[in-house]
Structure formats: structure tokens, C-alpha cells
Amino acid sequence: MSLTNVMSGWRTPALSSWPARWMAMPGSFKVGSIILAAHVLFALIGVFWTPYGFAQMGTGIPLSGMSWLHPMGVDQIGRDVLSRFMYGAHIVLLLALAGTTLGMVAGTVLGLVSGYLGGLFDEIVQRLVEAMISIPFLALALVTIIAAGPALAGEPALIVLVVGLVYTPRIARIARAAAMEIATREYVAVAELRGESTWSIVRREILPNTANVLLVEFSLRISYAPILIGALGFLGFGIRPPTPEWGLMISENRGLLIASPVTVFGPGLGFASLVVGLNLFTDGLSRMLGQRSVVGA
């Protein structure tokens, strides 16, 4: 019973106007949301317009450093880094969203059913999940990318699949733990005593009551997804060039670190700001929903 639960306050007439609800939200949530909104806007613009083309060469003197025309500098073949960054923005967001959603759906279904049913099914699923988690996520991702073969290499769909693959067992674990806790509640027993089917119980009794945990989990995972995708790009296993995926950009420009550091730190700062926004949003969300905020892990 959390008296400070803002969500429940919505049901009582106390806080019913939107501005009031906004003011009552935790600070981290507000700041995070604003940053995220800015990034989405930025990405949206980047789809349709960038100062120069993202693959356009010769836009300025190579390695010329920060300037009004080129706030993030120019790389060694003359491409404007800011334009590449702007165009790459929507890629990161979409990939992160798609991959996390995939992992979320698969992981939730698996975890909730397994946690509720228990028994042999649960044991088997648990072992599988644990095995998948034991493989370091980067290694798993890279191995899967290799195994997909040259046909799929560099395709966005593969990245989405890989992110989903990495996330499914981790989310399943959380969902399972949440389901197990709810499964012992008396109202679930009441439904069982009525003879309701497993699917009906998971859908009506368990899912709504694990929604808080799962929502925070979603937010958490999507906060880390850009980093994962960026790491893949950084190591050269991400989207095929010349698509300006952020991780790949930073990796490519690393060689220019001494000559023109802004080509690395410009995108780096932008990248970090997105993740900061996501993390703040997650932190605030978890506070609002009465969960202990575990940003990370």
C-alpha cells in the first residue's frame, strides 16, 4: 500500500488535472522525458533533413575541427560528422525499440507462464534461460551474427533479432520472479478455485499485477540497447557501412582522436545524452510505480 503512489492517486479525485499530475512526478522522470522528447525530435528531423548528405564527401576541409558550419567536425574523407550523427539518430532509436520489444514479448510470455506453472516446465525453462545468460551477452550477440552468415550480415533485422535474443532470457528471469511472487497471492488461488484456465489466470490475474515490474524492466532494457547496438557497431559487426550507425562512427573516428578529437567526442556526447535521458526516465518511472530503482543489471 503505497500512499505516495502517484498512479493510484489518479483514481482518487485528488490529482485529476494533467498539469498537476506532471508536477507531482519525480524530477528524474521529468528531465528524462524532456531529453527523450528532444532526441526523438532530433531523429525525426534527421530522417528528412541534414545540413549535408550523410555520405556526401568533400563538404569541408578534412579534420578541420569544430566550427559553425561543422559543429562536430569533418572526418578524414570530408564528411560532415553532424549530418551523419543526425541521420544515425533514428536508426539507433528504431533498432533499440524493435529489439527490446521483441525481447520483451518473448521474455514476458516465457517468464510469466513458467513462473506461474512451476514444476518440470519451469525447471527446464529455468535451465535454458540460465544457460543463455551464462554466455556473456556480447559474445552471444557476436556469435549469432557470425552464424547468420554473409547473407544477413549488416542487416538491421539481424541486429533486432540479436538484441531480442540477448534480452529474452534476462527479461524472462525477471518476469518469472514477478510471476512467482504473485502466484502465491490469495486472489490467484480464488481464480484457481473457480477452475479458470492457466492462460486466463496469467492474463487476468498475474499480468496486470506484474505490469509495474515489467514496465520498468522494459525501460531499463531499452536504456541499455543503444549501448549494446553501439558496441556491435564499434566492433564492426553492426550495420553495414556507409550507414552512419553511432557505434561504428565512433570506432571509425577513433583513429582521428589526436588530430580531431571532436569527431569522436561530438557523437560520443550526443550518444551519452540519449542514454542519460533514457536512464533518468527509467529511474523516474520506477519511482512512480513504487519499484526499487535498479538502473543497471
Binding site: R127, L128, E130, A131, M132, I133, S134, I135, P136, F137, L138, A139, L142, V143, T144, I146, A147, A148, G149, P150, P226, I227, G230, A231, F234, L235, G236, F237, G247, I250, S251, R254, L257, I258, P261, V264, F265, G268, F271, A272, V275, V276, L278, N279, L280, D283, R292, S293, V294, V295, G296, A297
Partner: protein
Amino acid sequence: MSILRLVISRVALSAVTLLLVSLLIFLILEALPGDVATRILGRDATAKALEVLREQLHLGDPAFSRYLHWLGDLLHGNLGVSIATGRPIADVLGPRIINTLLLSLLAFAMYLVLAIVPAVIQATHRGTKVDHAISVVTLVLLSLPDFLLATILLFIFAVAMPILPALATVSDASSWLDNLRAMILPAVTLAIIMAVYAIRVLRDSLIEVLRSDYVRLAELKGLRPYAVLWRHAMPNAIVPALNITALNLGFLIGGVVIVERVFSYPGFGTLLIDALQLRDLPLIKATVMISAAVYIAANLVADIGAVLLQPRLRTSR
């Protein structure tokens, strides 16, 4: 007696997990539909090269027997032969593992300090400016991708202020002091990566423990704050942090790959990347198995440690 039973059952479960990992790896790499050889060598490979590869990897044999052979080899300690270099994998792995191990130990030591100190400060000064400041710093560091953090540190300490070497080359030739200097940057990077995840959990766990009934009673018994914190609160707060530390191993092994790459440290991580880029199947399988084994072993230790620290868990219910 029950402790022994618990340990045995945990070890057995871990073994099962490791077995499943091997199955998984094998399935992904060699049992997906499609031609394995083409996947490895690419579409432009000559038919002759494909033949040779198939010969080397015994791709003619059915998948299941290949798996069992490989498993049997592993259990005998034979890690196979690298197709890229032709050398036995064990020879290649040995020195790399040692390097990464040293790096990890150094990083772990730093991690302990970097995690515990801020968490205790935060928990005991909850709500103050110090608490918020540490939270902000932690959040920012958390949001930096590993490769970015590594690059930033590299820039600051090796380029802008060249006090540490940019390339962390360690070899038997150089003195141990030089080697140490080379390891500092990558170790600090790793330590920070792990610590930022642990600080939050440790802080929350400490705060919750500080609110518990038994800490309250300890305070109401008239014990001094020092005694309340270190004798009643910390031992019980450590346990979730132990779990997190085991989880951090996952980040460590992942982070090792990237950090070693950025600093060109000749360790396990760079070996994995090289193996992947060269599509060296046996080497890939061996390195991934070893990373998984390390992770599983670390979790096992953490589990058993938790049981020893919390006598309550000894009676398995």
C-alpha cells in the same frame, strides 16, 4: 551436513547449465540450416577452399556425433586446433587468459573500493547534496558506453596528459612496473564499468537494511552508530551486492572485450574478437565456452558465499 548437500546440488546444477551452454553454442554455430563452410568463408570463397574447410571441420559427419566428439575432447582438456593458425588452442589461450586474469584482478580490487565507499557514503547521508551528487555522477558514468568511457580515459590520460601508455602492451620482456603502468587504464575502465552498477544496488540494499526492524532495535538498544552500521547493517546488506557482483562478471567479460580492444591489450577479449573476425570456429567455440564457464563458476561461488553469510539459508526449505 545440509551445507554439503546444498553445495553438491548447486555444483550439479551448474554442470548441467554448462552442458546446455555447450549445446547452445554448437547449435548456433554449426547446426543452423545452411552451409557452415560458406558462412565461414563467405560467398566469394573458392570451391577448393570450402572443401578443405569441410574436411578440417569434419562437416561431413552428422551434427550429433560432431557435438559428442567435441564434448568428449573438452572433457579431456583438448580444446582443439585453431584453423587460422593451426596451433593448438590451449597454447594460444594460455598466456591470453593469464593476462586477462591479472587485469581482472586488478580491476576487481579497484572495483571493491569504488563501489563500497560511495555506497556507504550515500546510504548514511541519504537525501543530502552529497547523496545527489554521487547519484548524478554515477548516472552519467553509467550512461557512457564502455567504448566511449575507455576512449575518454585514453584521451585524458594518454593523449592530453601523457602519463600512461596508450597501448597497453604487456610482455615478459618489460619490467613488472612497466606492465603495471600499462594495465592501469584498462583496469580503471573495467572497475568503473562494474562499480557503477553495484553502487546503486548496494546503496538501496543498505538503505533498506537501515530501515529494517533489527537495525531499529539495535539503535534502540543503545548501541553506538558505528556498531549498528558495521555489525548489524553491513553484513546483511552485502548479500544482494554479492549477487550483483556475480552479475557484474557478465559485464566484465563483455567489457573486457571492448576495453582490451580500445587499449590493444593482448588478452582474452582481443583473442575472441580476432577469432570472430577470422571466423575461426574451433577457437570461437573454445573461448565462448571458457567465458561461460568462468561466469558460471563465479555465480556458484557467489551463491555458496551467500549461503555461508546468511545462516538462515543453510536449512534448505
